[in-house]
């Protein structure tokens, strides 16, 4: 069972919100003593997902949680927007697929960087991405 120890919520509506948000994620990771490599992976994943939310979802809410499962601590990030949603999720998860003329690595790359990855999306309703990075994961 996952227990939430600490929760932080930020509204992401403009480009200028990205850096403060990332710094906040870093603070949480440092606080639980996450190592430098995992920290960097988490922050990079956060950066990808928050940019997607801005670019494709028209902004939304980003939640940062310190969570624990048994003896393992970690950081959970939740991104939810009320944008157009993703029509074909498995296509969006393919390396190199993009509708925004970028590298198309954000979603598949993020999945490789974190411990747990979950994407829910409904066309016309919005998208929610949840990831967890365990401290030693």
């Amino acid at each position: 069972m996952i227990v939430v120890l600490n929760k932080d919520e930020l509204r992401i509506i403009k480009e200028q919100d990205v850096v403060p948000y990332r710094n906040r994620v870093k603070e949480h990771a440092v606080k639980i003593g996450m190592g430098l490599v995992n920290q960097t992976k988490l922050i990079t994943a956060a950066s990808e997902l928050v940019r997607n939310m801005l670019k494709y979802g028209g902004g939304g809410i980003a939640i940062i949680e310190t969570v624990s499962k048994g003896r393992e601590n970690g950081i959970r990030l939740i991104f939810s927007d009320k944008g157009p949603g993703i029509k074909d999720i498995s296509l969006a998860m393919k390396d190199g697929y993009t509708t925004g003329r970028s590298l198309g690595l954000g979603l598949p790359g993020t999945k490789r960087l974190v411990s747990e990855f979950n994407l829910e999306s409904e066309e016309g309703k919005g998208t929610t991405v949840t990831v967890i990075k365990w401290k030693n994961g």
């Binding site: 200028q16 990332r22 960097t40 970028s102 690595l105």
Partner: protein, 293 residues
């Protein structure tokens, strides 16, 4: 159509007293930075604002802070807030300004309305109205401050991307902070221009100061390298820390076509060998020369 509301009538009649009381209230608050704005300017704007407010007050608008009658009042108020934010006033000073008006209005009301119940109900209406003005002026105050911050960000972006001429034909550009789209544009322009001006053939982009390389930053780096190559120069990316290297690999970014180095020093070494230069220790080479003899 004549006004029925006692409060509106009273305020119309005693406009001058309200203004005087308001100015007095402001001077009373200690710690106000009177030097930022002259008393005359202050008096004039306040007079204008009060005129607009009293003109806008009528039997129905006094009950509705969102009435369209207050459009002009809000315009002037937001103008004042923005200019104060830019001049470096504290929110407290802007607050005192508006709450000072509220106090003056309520004090003046007491002189004409003697029935306590009526005084209370009219005071409540005016309070609501003025509180609402205060909220909207805080919102604009913050917007004004945000504009200042944005402007400063632009300025920092421009000065924070220096191109350093490290050797004949070799340029280095340390990048510190996030490489967003706007920043990349400036980095690229500065770099390309400097390549032309100095006739350099090698550019080193050092990213030791970039906190995270996500796919957007990577795309910008790749673009910058391509543009440099189009100019006939080679571009080396240095300062890739081990944790960044690992992350980039997991993300799936292919940097194999780019020359990457861990440190600026090793990038410089590579640049030297590309230019067929050799840096040797003086004493050692002397020794070698002697032994060769």
């Amino acid at each position: 159509m004549s006004t029925k509301n006692e409060a509106v009538k009273a305020l119309q009649k005693r406009k001058k007293e309200v203004l005087e009381q308001w100015m007095k209230n402001q001077l009373q608050d200690e710690g106000l930075r009177n030097n930022l704005i002259s008393d005359e300017d202050q008096q004039q704007t306040s007079d204008e604002l009060l005129n607009l407010l009293i003109d806008a007050l009528n039997d129905s608008s006094i009950e509705d802070a969102h009435s369209r009658d207050f459009e002009k009042v809000l315009d002037v108020l937001s103008g004042i807030s923005i200019s104060r934010a830019k001049q470096g006033f504290s929110p407290r000073e802007t607050g005192v300004y508006i709450f000072g008006l509220k106090e003056a209005l309520l004090t003046t009301l007491q002189k004409d309305i003697k029935d306590p119940a009526q005084l209370y109900s009219e005071s409540l209406k005016l309070s609501k109205l003025l509180d609402n003005f205060a909220i909207s002026s805080f919102e604009t105050f913050i917007k004004g401050r945000e504009e200042v911050i944005l402007r400063q960000t632009d300025e920092i972006t421009e000065i924070s991307t220096p191109v350093i001429h490290v050797w004949d034909g070799v340029l280095a550009m340390p990048i510190i902070g996030t490489l967003d789209s706007a920043r990349t544009q400036i980095v690229m322009e500065n770099l390309l221009q400097e390549i032309v001006e100095t006739g350099s053939s090698i550019a080193i982009l050092d990213i030791s100061g970039v906190p995270a390389v996500d796919s957007l930053v990577a795309q910008h780096l790749i673009k910058t390298v391509s543009a440099t190559r189009l100019m006939g120069a080679e571009c080396i990316i240095s300062g890739i820390r081990p944790e960044i290297a690992q992350t980039v690999v997991h993300l799936g970014i292919d940097l194999s076509t780019i020359i990457t180095k861990a440190t600026l020093a090793s990038a410089l070494k590579t640049a030297f060998s590309m230019l067929q230069l050799e840096v040797t220790k003086k004493s050692k080479s002397n020794l070698l020369q002697q032994s060769n003899r």
